[in-house]
Amino acid sequence: MDRQEYNITAYTENQVGLLNRIAIIFSRRKINIESLNVSPSEIEGIHRFNIVIVETEEVVHKLAKQIEKQVEVLKVYFNTNQDVIWQEMALYKVPTDIIAEKVLVERLLRENGARAVVIRKDYTVFETTGHREETDNLIKALQPYGLIEFVRSARIAIIKASDGFHLKLQEFEQREPSEEVAENEFLNDRDAVFTM
């Protein structure tokens, strides 16, 4: 079966040591994690892992079940790149004098969808977000002008076709009501919360 990039999305409790528990599921099978992002989700107390690996669907399917089996994991989804909207963020630090002198900065920013985050006498920091090849473009553009430092974030991804995790959590809570009802209260008035 073909190996390709998969985006694993795990909703978890915010608990010490869980990152290790999840990481071990990959490392014991000698699977390298290409990208890992953990952050609070839209639901208080629930964190969201975005993990990118290159594997076959069969392997990813088993891994997802193994992760979901962990006590503090609520739900795991996995998707190919076609099924998610994903972004990475990149920061570029370049000497301000060279940039100011030699580059048509405005054009550079427009062409790469970038923006200046910080402009100091000694250096300027640009930022772009996008897919890998998009953020790579600005590296190429800035390299001749003395790129000092570059950093790229892990991937974050939103699943295109999904009811979202809210619905699932509601089902959970209806079936076996939790004693810790903080999320329920939140969910009950989430329409109000999300009204724009």
Partner: protein, 560 residues
């Protein structure tokens, strides 16, 4: 109250009566509190923490309750590692409580500090470090709930010394019944039950494989009802043994590498394979790409990760088999499969001729492991709890021990832990005090945890120990003989005078090396009040057959 008292109150509230442990610096506050709990909690002082956790495993497996272990920090905690790995792979419910250095010393390489939480993460179902007394009741409530619910497993709670000492206003203990992120049993899907029943009803040569899930789910009665109504031949994995009595007419024997001939060969001839509470371990399946390719597979399991993990199923039946089996039984037709069953009997007859008769009733002068089990069966009537170690004798014990009831065979299945049996037998006796407990151990395995004879001496627990001494690390020797041109590399192991060692621990014993002495010695052992060590000198180079060589299909099982 202090954290230490809260810990013990939690154990009492969870119905714990026996704990196995070994004190040390970082768990002294709990041991100090234990001094006042002597009437409620029976503490068994083992000789090594590994012995403590294996004893707790034996207790849990024989009783169906949660085994509890106490150990101190650092080396005390790391000595639990083998038992945790063993308990996880064999789904044994345990709660291990380890002491830890003061919270303010965490991460400083303090005396006897190890990061036991991270060490045990891959070998526990769940673990948690308590650094404040207030956390103790909830952490322990969760620990017990997680350990025994769903697919059971070991849990470790690490409690810092300050949390044990700290006084706090403890609330009334509330057992845990729900954790938001934990779904112990998947929801049963009726459509899968219907599909499974339809498949079973249309099958010409259906075959049931059952594992420990039946025992863990306490579904022995439901399982028997299913087998008897459907009339399907059923075979067991080594941890499933006893869920259906050995002499039940539809029990066709043991699966796997050293299982019976018929169940292995006919796995590759059945048309519908119904796997119940088993996980298609590689010792059961042999080569996967040649495993039951012709069969439609129904898999009943409480753990969704087991379904399609090794073998692709046609119909997955998620759920607790105590719940799913009756639903399935209601839909299957009352049937018998006499011709198909006869094929199992034909294969068994071949196996008896080729292997079993000579193993159980040898014509040579030397004693065999099989005849020891045969004699034991006759004397105990299949009522004893057998606790076997790991190696050739284990396969003999599993193959030949008669088991009339469930929870009668405790052995290290998934991990294959040598040294398991002696401490596990001690625990099994505490877990099933009214049943005779017989440990069957090789001369290699006994020497790994022989210090637990001291635990027997001190507690006066009644455990019968049979050492089957072939003066070799027999299973490795067998492999070296069959697959490494008889290059016997470091398998020739010497033994002490076991009877004298036992005597040193004030345990009665006898050594047998001639056939006429065997039965009287076994009878003497069983009649002896208290523990007894019986060393039986058996054939040095006997092999365990049948055997599915590694990398072969189950149909390629060798009778010789």
């Amino acid at each position: 109250m202090t954290g230490a008292v809260a810990t013990l109150q939690a154990l009492v509230a969870e119905g714990v009566d026996t704990i196995f442990g070994y004190p040390g610096g970082a768990i002294i506050p709990i041991y100090d509190a234990l001094y006042d709990f002597k009437d409620q909690l029976h503490h068994v002082l083992v000789r090594h923490e590994q012995g403590g956790i294996h004893a707790a495993q034996g207790y849990a497996r024989a009783s169906g309750r949660v085994g509890v272990v106490l150990a101190t920090s650092g080396p005390g905690a790391t000595n639990l590692v083998t038992g945790l790995a063993d308990a996880l792979i064999d789904s044994t419910p345990l709660v291990c409580i380890t002491g830890q250095v003061f919270a303010h010393l965490l991460g400083t390489d303090a005396f006897q500090e190890t990061d036991i939480i991270n060490i045990t993460t891959p070998i526990t179902k769940w673990n948690y470090q308590v650094t404040k007394a207030e956390e103790i009741p909830e952490a322990l409530a969760k620990a017990f709930y997680i350990a025994r619910s769903g697919r059971p497993g070991p849990v470790l709670i690490d409690i810092t010394k300050n949390a044990q000492q700290q006084a706090f206003d403890a609330p009334d203990y509330r057992p845990c019944t729900h954790i938001r992120s934990y779904r112990p049993a998947p929801v049963v899907r009726p459509e899968y039950i219907e599909q499974a029943a339809a498949l079973i009803n249309s099958a010409k040569r259906p075959f049931i494989l059952w594992g420990q899930g039946v025992v863990l789910g306490a579904a022995e009665r439901e399982f028997r009802a299913f087998v008897e109504k459907s009339g399907i031949p059923a075979a067991w994995t080594i941890l499933g043994v006893g869920a259906l009595a050995t002499d039940h007419p539809l029990n066709v024997g043991m699966l796997g590498m050293h299982g019976n001939y018929g169940p292995n060969v006919l796995t590759n001839e059945c048309d519908v394979l119904i796997a119940i509470g088993m996980r298609f371990d590689d010792r059961v399946t042999g080569r996967l790409d040649k495993y039951a390719r012709q069969a439609q597979i129904i898999h009943l399991d409480i753990d969704p990760t087991e379904i399609d993990k090794n073998v692709q199923t046609t119909v997955p039946v998620w759920g607790d088999c105590k719940e799913t089996l009756p639903l399935l039984t209601a839909l299957v037709e009352h049937k018998a499969h006499p011709e198909w069953l006869a094929r199992f009997h034909d294969h068994m007859a071949q196996e008896v001729d080729a292997v079993i008769r000579e193993e159980l009733f040898p014509t040579s002068d030397e004693l065999t492991m099989g005849e020891v089990m045969q004699q034991l069966n006759e004397l105990t009537g299949g009522e004893a709890v057998i606790v076997s170690d790991v190696g050739q004798h284990q396969m003999v014990a599993c193959r030949y021990a008669r088991q009339n009831q469930s929870r009668s065979h405790v052995t290290s299945g998934g991990l294959g832990t040598m040294g398991f049996a002696l401490p596990a037998a001690i625990g099994a006796k505490f877990g099933a005090p009214h049943r005779p407990v017989v440990a069957v151990i090789g001369d290699g395995g006994i020497q790994m945890t022989i210090q637990e004879l001291g635990t027997i001496m001190q507690t006066g627990v009644d455990v019968k120990i049979i050492i089957l001494n072939n003066q070799f690390l027999g299973m490795v020797r067998q492999w070296q003989e069959l697959f490494h041109q008889r290059r016997y590399s470091f398998v020739d192991i010497q033994s002490p005078d076991y009877v004298a060692v036992a005597a040193g621990y004030r345990i009665a014993g006898q050594r047998v090396d001639a056939r006429p002495d065997l039965r009287p010695a076994l009878a003497r052992m069983l009649a002896h009040p208290g523990s007894f060590l019986l060393e039986v000198m058996v054939t040095k180079e006997n092999n365990i057959f049948p055997m599915v060589p590694q990398g072969c299909s189950v149909a390629e099982i060798r009778l010789r």
